[in-house]
Amino acid sequence: MIVPLAHVLILAAVLFGLGLVCTLVWRSNVIMLLIGIEVMLNAAMLVFVGGSNHWGMADGQVFALIIMAMTSAEVSLALALVVYLHRRKNTVDVDEFRELKD
C-alpha cells in the first residue's frame, strides 16, 4: 500500500462531494447533471479499488468493473432519454420537464 487507506477515502469523499454539488446545482442542463452522477460513481469505484488494494483481495476490483458496466448502460439509456426529451420540448432544462402528460 503506497498511501494510507484514509487518504484514498478522503480523496473519494472529495470527489463524491463535488459530484453531489454538480448534480444539485446544474438544474438548467441535464447533461451536466449526468456528469455529476458520473463523478459520484467514479468516487465509489475509487473506494472499491482502494479497499481491494488494502486488503489484498480482488473482489473490490471486480465490483469496480461491474460499476463501470452498469454506468455505461445507465449513460446510454439516460442520453437516449435526453435526446427524446429534447425532441419533445426543444430544451434540456430540467425545470421544463414537470408534467407527466404530453
Binding site: M1, I2, V3, L5, A6, H7, V8, L9, I10, A13, V14, L15, F16, L18, G19, L20, V21, C22, L24, V25, W26, R27, N29, I31, M32, L34, I35, G36, E38, V39, N42, M45, G50, S52, N53, H54, W55, G56, M57, A58, D59, Q61, V62, A64, L65, I66, M68, A69, M70, T71, S72, A73, V75, L77, L79, A80, V82, V83, Y84, V92
Partner: protein
Amino acid sequence: METYLFYILAAVTVIGTILAITEKHPVHAIVYLVTSFFSLATIFFLLAAPLVAMFEVIIYAGAVMVLFMFVIMMLDLGRTDEARRPVLKQWLLPIILGGIILASIGTIATGYAAAPHPSGALTVRDFAETLFRKYGVAVEIISMQLLFAVVGALYLGRKGKP
C-alpha cells in the same frame, strides 16, 4: 516516489473535476472531465489495479465521454452565447450540503484504524479468477443488463412517437 505521485494525481483529479463542474460550456466540461478521469486511471494503476485503470481509460474517458460529446453536438448544445452558469445563490446550499457530507466522511476516515492486511501482491490472475469463478453469475447478469439498455435506448431513440 509513488506516494508523491498519488498526491499529485489526486490534486489533478480534484482540480479537473472542480473546473469541469463550474464550466458553463458543456464541451469544455467534458474535456476537463476526461483529464480528471485520466489521472484517476493512473491512481487506479498505482493502487495495483491495472485492468480497472485500462477500462477506466477505454470505457469512461473513451466511450462514455465520447457519447456525451456526441449527444451535445447532435442536440447543438455547445453554443457559447446560450451557455449560462447557475447563479451564485444556487451554488450556496449544495456546497453546504456537500461540505457536511465531506466533513463527516473525512472525520470517519481519519479516525478509522483499518485492520492489518495480508501483504500479498494482487495480480491480474487473481482478478480474473475472482471475476469468472466467484462472480461468474454477476458477469452474466451485467451482460443481460447491457442488452436491456441497448433495447431501451433503441426504443427511446426511434423516430416517431414511442
